[in-house]
């Protein structure tokens, strides 16, 4: 197996994706190859640094922040529902229906939703 193929094993090792046989093969190669061994150390260090990246959280509740928009969406939906009686087949989206919904900035967006 070439060094290039060993690099793939190293990468999969980081993701716990190696069989016992593959892992043994990789370890055997690393003992003999200083270059691969150096790369493997750096990849393992990177893997640990990536795993320790700060688990950031938003500064304030995002749901609270969008409450007014959610209420506006609900209002628009309510209006749209009233405009489309259930006993009539839904018309395909066309310019006229978009125009009706255009009384609110969210309305035209909602009308475009499936």
């Amino acid at each position: 197996m070439t060094c290039h193929e060993q690099v793939e094993l190293m990468q999969r090792y980081l993701d716990h994706d190696l069989s016992d046989t593959e892992e043994r093969e990789l370890k055997e190669h690393l003992v003999q190859c200083a270059e691969c061994s150096g790369l493997f150390d750096r990849l393992q260090r990177l893997d640990s640094e990536l795993s320790q990246l700060p688990k950031v959280t938003p500064a304030y509740s995002l749901v609270d922040a969008i409450m007014p928009q959610l209420a506006e969406l609900d209002r628009c939906r309510g209006r749209l529902r009233k405009r489309r009686p259930k006993n009539r087949p839904q018309p395909l989206l066309h310019a006229a229906s978009l125009g009706h919904a255009g009384f609110s900035p969210l309305g035209s967006w909602l009308a475009a939703l499936p």
């Binding site: 990246l53 938003p58 509740s61 995002l62 609900d74």
Partner: protein, 182 residues
């Protein structure tokens, strides 16, 4: 992990359930946006947009996919759109993934703030490579879950992840060599 019952209640039109669900996922949505976009303000904007989209599109979620991968698909798509608008010339061509080192990576490493240096390096990855790294390391997603989120073939996911790690270790090594320790 959002309970399937909560998702079903939200889909059946229970507004309180939908709001509870959004509160449960908002941190996960934000975390992705933060590491995808690299700053707090853009991350706040993108996550709010993602939550609004989830609110309106909850009916279209189908249980054949995991809910968490569906959510991450929505937020990564929004971030990639923003990313493209901000940096229209970024190439994701596999053979010409050039790496422009930010001037301050070295300073970050010298200052001992390694996680900041790693973040700066992540910021230089092309968008899909970055998404794969974020899902793998900030959400502990498996190859399959990443593939499902990004709608990419499994082999592409592996190749992006492997290439991204290769590039990240090269960048960080080069700067360490150039620094005090070299």
């Amino acid at each position: 992990m959002v309970a399937p019952e909560l998702v079903r209640a939200a889909q059946s039109g229970d507004r309180e359930a939908l709001l509870t669900l959004l509160r449960e996922i908002e941190t996960h949505v934000y975390r992705t946006a933060f590491y995808m976009l690299g700053n707090e303000q853009d991350a706040m904007d993108a996550s709010q947009e993602a939550l609004l989209r989830i609110y309106t599109k909850i009916q279209s979620y189908e249980e054949k996919a995991l809910f968490k991968t569906w959510v991450q698909r929505i937020v990564t798509n929004i971030c990639i759109d923003k990313f493209r608008k901000a940096k229209p010339t970024v190439s994701i061509d596999e053979h010409e993934m050039t790496f422009i080192a930010p001037a301050n990576v070295e300073d970050e490493i010298l200052a001992g703030d390694l996680s900041q240096a790693v973040r700066e390096a992540i910021d230089r990855l092309p968008e899909h490579h970055r998404s794969v790294v974020v899902l793998r390391y900030l959400h502990d997603f498996s190859y399959n879950e990443i593939a499902e989120s990004l709608q990419l073939p499994l082999n592409t996911v592996k190749s992006y992840l492997f290439r991204a790690r290769q590039q990240l270790q090269t960048l960080l090594r080069d700067y360490e060599k150039g620094g005090v320790r070299g």
